[in-house]
Amino acid sequence: MAFFITALYLGYLLAPMLLLLVGSVGATWSNTLLPTDGLTARWFLQVWHDRSFRLAFITSLQVAGATVVLCAILGAPLAYAVASAGHRGVRLAARITYLLPVAAPPIVLAFGLMLVFSSDALPFLGATWVLIGGHVVLCLPYLLHTLVADMRHLDLPAQELAAEALGGGFWRRFFDIVLPALRHSLLSGSVMVAALSIGEFQLSNLIAGFLNRTYPVVLLQAFYGATGFACAATVVLLVLALIAAITGALAARGASGTKGLAG
């Protein structure tokens, strides 16, 4: 019974992806269950040669890359500060604050950014760095959450106490003890951030400029054209997301492996 339910669920999960794959290489697909007229690489080539898709692909990579780097730079010290806050009330307040972007719909943030950056004083709406800033706000909570959970699990305070007694100042402790201890969760959290950033649509759709639309934003328009083209364009995004997910899973497995030995 359990097997049957699992299989059913997996089918439900995988069928659309399979159909996308089939559609992306099918020559013609209209009003039939499956594409007709044989296989073709035409759609992928079209996506490849489409200037707006190439631009969007590059913009997405840039935004995701910058978001990952910024999140890592901000996340490690922030998580450290949250986890080592002495007062329980402070820790709780910090958690609520950093989880707010998860609770609030991205559209709320987008409207805020639109209000601020469309004014005459700050006419920056559409700039890539505004896009990056928005993505950082949306993705950082997920990295923070991973890091803070890991820190509690690793019993860092005891190691830090020992390091301090041995003569280690704050920066030495941070770089020699805290960061190496967090390397696995930092990696898996960063991959999650990359995946989220690459797939982000709601916020990007509202605040991206015409020349720096991200991939998912351009992708929506593909569905007004040929089905095969839309499928091929989506498969590209799917592959990117898969790469991120697999890397994340491997990093997480590495982390849990180390912990298993330590325990």
Partner: protein, 342 residues
């Protein structure tokens, strides 16, 4: 180098728990063990000396200099924690070399000194292993080596053996004593295991409710406890509430006891202490200090037995190597010690 605390007091915020008016001095090369039930303030004392807590009153002196306001990392103390707190991503050698790296020792030199230290704790073959790949005893040795490698002013051991099994504990406490004597370092050893304290310490401080009740050499602590509480905590003891009747007689719940009541006047309430190994089987010639009863418990402990005899008004505990099951026991007058009643 020495460690001393003077009139040290600390109360945990919002409580009356902590330590009060502690005076303790550890001479260079001396090992002082602090024992007491949990919550007696022994760990608080260590945290105050280490600098993890700041005392509300009193001073901490390291090598004769006031270190009360110093941050922990400036105190140059070697601390071994209960859970070792080794750095899990560093090998045994890297763990030991880390405090040297902090002190700017060159790479080759710190490698050499860390390897030398590993050799001293007998773990040179395990130099490249991560802590997770070491046994509890080996981790303990690495923690000890890491705490000693940079030549600290003193060694603070916070229940370092409590996570080990019994046989390993005995082995490791001798190891700690050996290393400590080799390097002649002043050492404070916190433990709740009195056997551990008595067996390796030069002096033992008994703490209770935040105060040091007595600090003395192990033998003195056992043979001449300063109070009823110390007598009860250190070793096994028969302790009876007693009243001095005259210069040679006590009234106790189990009957009249004859002994010299030096320093007490008739009518004084005292505690009468008799160590179980001083209780003899049989009866005295004149029948005084002799008690008959029924055997309550008989514990075989290898070279001796520990027996509890139920007598009128109480229990007499005795230790004997003989196989006889006694019906009567005898307490020699000189075996009775009188302590102030608490």
């Amino acid at each position: 180098m020495s460690v001393a605390v003077e009139a040290l007091s600390y109360a945990w915020p919002g409580t009356t728990n902590g330590v009060a008016d502690i005076h303790l001095a550890i001479a260079p090369g001396e090992l002082v063990a602090v024992i007491g039930p949990s919550g007696c303030g022994k760990s608080t004392l260590l945290k105050l000396i280490a600098g993890f807590l700041t005392p509300q009153q009193g001073r901490v002196l390291l090598a004769g200099r006031d270190a009360t306001g110093m941050p922990p990392r400036a105190r140059e103390l070697g601390i071994v924690f209960q859970a070792y707190a080794l750095f899990p991503h560093m090998t045994a050698l890297q763990n030991i070399a880390w405090p040297l790296s902090i002190r700017g020792v060159s790479r080759t030199e710190r490698h050499r000194r860390a390897a030398e230290m590993l050799d001293r704790v007998g773990l040179l073959a395990q130099a490249d292993r991560l802590p997770a790949k070491l046994s509890g005893g080996q981790q303990q040795r690495v923690a000890l080596a890491r705490a000693m490698v940079f030549g600290p002013k003193a060694l603070l051991l916070d229940e370092p053996l409590s996570a080990l099994d019994a046989t390993l504990r005995v082995e490791m406490r001798d190891e700690i004593r050996r290393l400590q004597q080799e390097s002649g370092i002043a050492t404070l050893h916190i433990t709740h295991d009195q056997e551990e304290a008595l067996s390796i310490a030069d002096r033992v401080a008994v703490m209770r409710e935040g105060r040091v009740l007595q600090c003395a050499a192990p033998r003195e602590l056992y043979t001449r406890p300063a109070s009823r509480a110390v007598a009860a905590f250190v070793g096994h003891a028969n302790l009876w509430e007693a009243t001095v009747l005259d210069a040679t007689t006590l009234s106790t719940p189990i009957g009249i006891l004859r002994t010299q009541a030096h320093g007490f006047a008739p009518g004084d309430a005292v505690a009468a202490l008799v160590r179980p190994e001083h209780v003899q089987i049989g009866a005295s010639a004149d029948g005084s200090n002799s008690f008959t009863g029924r055997l309550l418990r008989d514990r075989f402990l290898g070279s001796f037995r520990r027996l509890d005899l139920a007598v009128d008004g109480g229990t007499v505990a005795l230790e004997t190597a003989s196989d006889i099951t006694p019906q009567a026991v005898f307490i020699p007058p000189e075996a009775v010690q009188l302590l102030p009643a608490d």
